[in-house]
């Protein structure tokens, strides 16, 4: 191999090697990003499911049977209960708001 050919060959090999290395780096970065994407999708799904479970629990807490027992006690629903039970508790005041929060989490 002549000296001239050697001088020309080395940079070509170097450039090709750099291109190959860049491609490998890009490839591995791409895989890393895809992994992160899959992981974040999974986390989002689990968070959605968690929010859904919380909403179900809240709806159960807001269910008729619980409201019924509160109404029968006459503490939280003065409109439903006898006239003397006119006191309204803080817990009762918050209830519709709690459902709104659950709905916000979901959407």
């Amino acid at each position: 191999m002549s000296g001239r050919a050697g001088r020309l060959g080395i940079p070509i090999v170097a450039v090709l090697s750099i291109i190959a290395l860049l491609y490998l780096a890009l490839h591995s970065w791409n895989i890393k990003l895809t992994k992160q994407l899959v992981e974040s999708e999974r986390k989002q799904k689990l968070a959605f499911e968690k929010a859904e479970s919380l909403e179900i629990e809240l709806r159960k807490l807001m269910s008729f049977s619980r409201l019924e027992s509160l109404a029968l006690k006459g503490e939280h629903f003065p409109q439903v209960s006898p006239p003397d039970g006119s006191r309204r508790s803080e817990e009762g005041r918050r209830m519709p708001g709690v459902l709104r929060v659950a709905s916000d989490i979901r959407h």
Binding site: S53, S63, F64, E68, A71, Q79
Partner: protein, 587 residues
């Protein structure tokens, strides 16, 4: 020397020629084959599960949903250190060490070790198994678990899915093809050891989610009915009971059986409990079927023939051929209305002698008897209604007139009473309000098919009679304070396996609606073989009353909560004074 050099050159030419030929063969001639082989070695398609559609009640509460979870499969013959794996599994709360050790020693081939493992636990376990180099002998898969938050309250309607994700009962079975999602896939690449990595451009076929079912039932009402029915069945020591609640539009608000089952643990219960008895079981209704005779008599062209006379049933029995028909309670001379208010079998039998069988049959059919309603639940009963030809037999017609020799479902009875409540307009009860898939609405029940089954005047007169049944007749125990209730009791003797009617085993019903001015709820209650009650008045009426009272309370509470919410929101922004809003509350 030259000769040796020629040999080497020839050898190299042949060698390079062979290599070039092989390259040509691989790259040009057989590239498809090698590409396929490489793909098998480098890539793997991972199945993505299509999520099963959810089921909602009328208020958007989820009755059936999916939870992400994992399942683990093990191939014991490839496990290097069985003690270590057994310990790892036990550390993650999956069985005990000794039990796991036994499993691993007993089974050789791939087996399903555990399903429905909490997703986070399964994911952590997956990482540990890879780290501990058990990944070739274990397989931790993503999975879905079907959950039913309202458990036994809604089990009869919703049903459940089996281990393979296929519906096995209720709507889960009936709508399985719509609810089931379609699986997708994602392409992954494998390295030499077998680890999977995502492919850079992530080729994916997304899974298709199943359709969502939106039902007409109300989970609160299901619970109310279940609790009242449970109390009624236990207090009367009955075999079982069923309740159906319809609203004035024909929407089914509740279908409940007791004893029920928990769909989350369906395998712990007898398969007998899986069906919705109110829809599938056909029974002889007894006196609650007298509604048909009442409507037919009033609807007939010569209704005066029935309403303008009295019925002398003071003898307590009448003979038809060699058979005797009796009344349970002695009655004297009855008017048309009091035949039904006192629930006289003899009175109805006497009416049947003057009734045209064809006409009676047509009224019964118009009221929905003798054909399935088609609500969508599996194995719906159609009931048995004899043809007009058979009704020409006097004895047969006489017994059918008071509800013996004819079979119905509880839902059919409820629909017939709802028809009277709606001033004679029959509407088929429905359970599925809408089916949605993504943004597409597949079905929406916005226009219900109705028919005028009986005239409005007939319905008005029947309503009056049914009201007096509750005020003064056999249905007194169903009365609700300050509400006008209409209804009819039915106590039907059950057929013995060897023929004839039992003197001790009865099936009791009460079907009614309220308030008479603007009917809102139609409730049908069935109690099977109560030991502590002889008549429907003592068995079914108290259940009806309790359900009715609680439904009215529910309406009042919902109105109160609505007003309350308005007050919270509007009051804060200064639109409404709280006192003003309270003044609008209709209590």
């Amino acid at each position: 020397m030259r000769r040796r050099r020629n040999i080497i050159e020839l050898f190299l030419i042949v060698l390079w020629g062979g290599i070039l030929f092989k390259l040509f063969s691989v790259q040009i001639l057989n590239w498809r084959h090698y590409q396929r082989m490489a793909a098998v070695q480098h890539f793997t398609k991972v199945k993505l599960l299509g999520e099963r559609g959810k089921i909602y009640d009328r208020k958007g509460r989820v009755l059936a949903l999916n939870r992400s979870c994992t399942s683990i499969r093990i191939l014991p013959k490839w496990v290097r250190d069985k003690d270590r794996l057994a310990t790892l599994l036990a550390d993650f709360g999956l069985g005990t060490f000794s039990a796991n050790r036994d499993f691993l020693a007993r089974d050789k081939g791939l087996f399903l070790f555990k399903r429905y493992i909490d997703y986070n636990t399964g994911d952590s376990l997956r990482k540990v198994l890879v780290k501990e180099r058990f990944h070739n002998a274990t397989l931790v898969n993503d999975d879905y678990e079907r959950l039913y938050p309202y458990g036994e309250f809604c089990a009869d309607v919703v049903g459940f899915v089996g281990d393979e994700g296929c519906g096995l009962a209720g709507l889960e079975w009936a709508f399985n093809s719509l609810l089931a999602g379609k699986p997708g896939w994602v392409m992954m690449q494998k390295d030499a050891i077998g680890y999977s990595y995502p492919y850079p451009n992530h080729p994916t076929k997304p899974p298709e989610e199943g359709a969502e079912l939106h039902l007409t039932i109300d989970a609160d009402i299901q619970q109310v009915c279940y609790e009242a029915l449970k109390k009624g069945v236990n207090e009367t020591e009955a075999l079982r009971g069923s309740v159906v609640v319809l609203d004035s539009s024909g929407a089914i608000l509740a279908i409940v059986d007791y004893p029920g089952y928990d769909p989350n643990r369906f395998f712990d219960y007898s398969a007998e409990l899986y069906k919705a008895n109110a829809v599938t079981d056909q029974f002889e209704p007894g006196s609650s079927f007298k509604l048909v005779m009442c409507a037919a008599a009033l609807e007939s062209a010569d209704s005066e023939r029935f309403t303008g006379r009295v019925y002398d049933v003071s003898s307590g029995f009448i003979s038809i051929g060699n058979r005797k028909i009796k009344d349970v309670h002695p009655n004297g001379v009855l008017t048309f209305d009091s035949v039904f208010i006192n629930s006289s079998n003899l009175g109805c039998a006497l009416m049947s002698f003057d009734m045209d069988p064809e006409f009676y049959y047509s009224v019964a059919r118009r009221l929905g008897f003798g054909e399935p309603i088609g609500v969508g639940l599996p194995n719906e009963g159609r009931g048995k209604l004899d043809s007009p030809k058979k009704l020409h037999n006097r004895l047969r017609f006489a017994t059918i007139s008071f509800g013996q020799g004819v079979t119905v479902t509880l839902l059919q009875l409820a629909a017939a009473y709802l028809c009277i409540a709606r001033d004679g307009e029959y509407v088929k009860p429905y359970l599925v309000d809408s089916i949605k898939k993504g943004n597409r609405v597949i079905l929406k029940q916005d226009r219900r098919e109705t028919r005028q089954a009986v005239r409005t005047q007939t319905a008005e007169r029947v309503k009056g009679i049914l009201r007096r049944v509750v005020e003064h007749g056999t249905g007194k125990l169903a009365a609700i304070a300050n509400v006008s209730v209409c209804g009819k009791t039915g106590t039907a003797q059950k057929v013995e396996p060897w023929g004839g009617y039992s003197s001790v085993r009865s099936l009791m019903t009460f079907i009614g609606f309220f308030p008479i001015e603007r009917p809102r709820y139609c409730i049908a209650v069935l109690i099977d073989e109560p030991k502590r009650a002889r008549f429907a008045a003592g068995a079914a009426c108290p259940v009806f009353k309790e359900i009715g009272e609680r439904l009215l309370l529910k309406d009042r509470i919902e109105l109160a909560v609505d007003n309350w919410a308005k007050e919270e929101v509007l009051g804060k922004v200064g639109f409404v004074e709280s006192g003003e809003e309270n003044g609008k509350t209709a209590f």
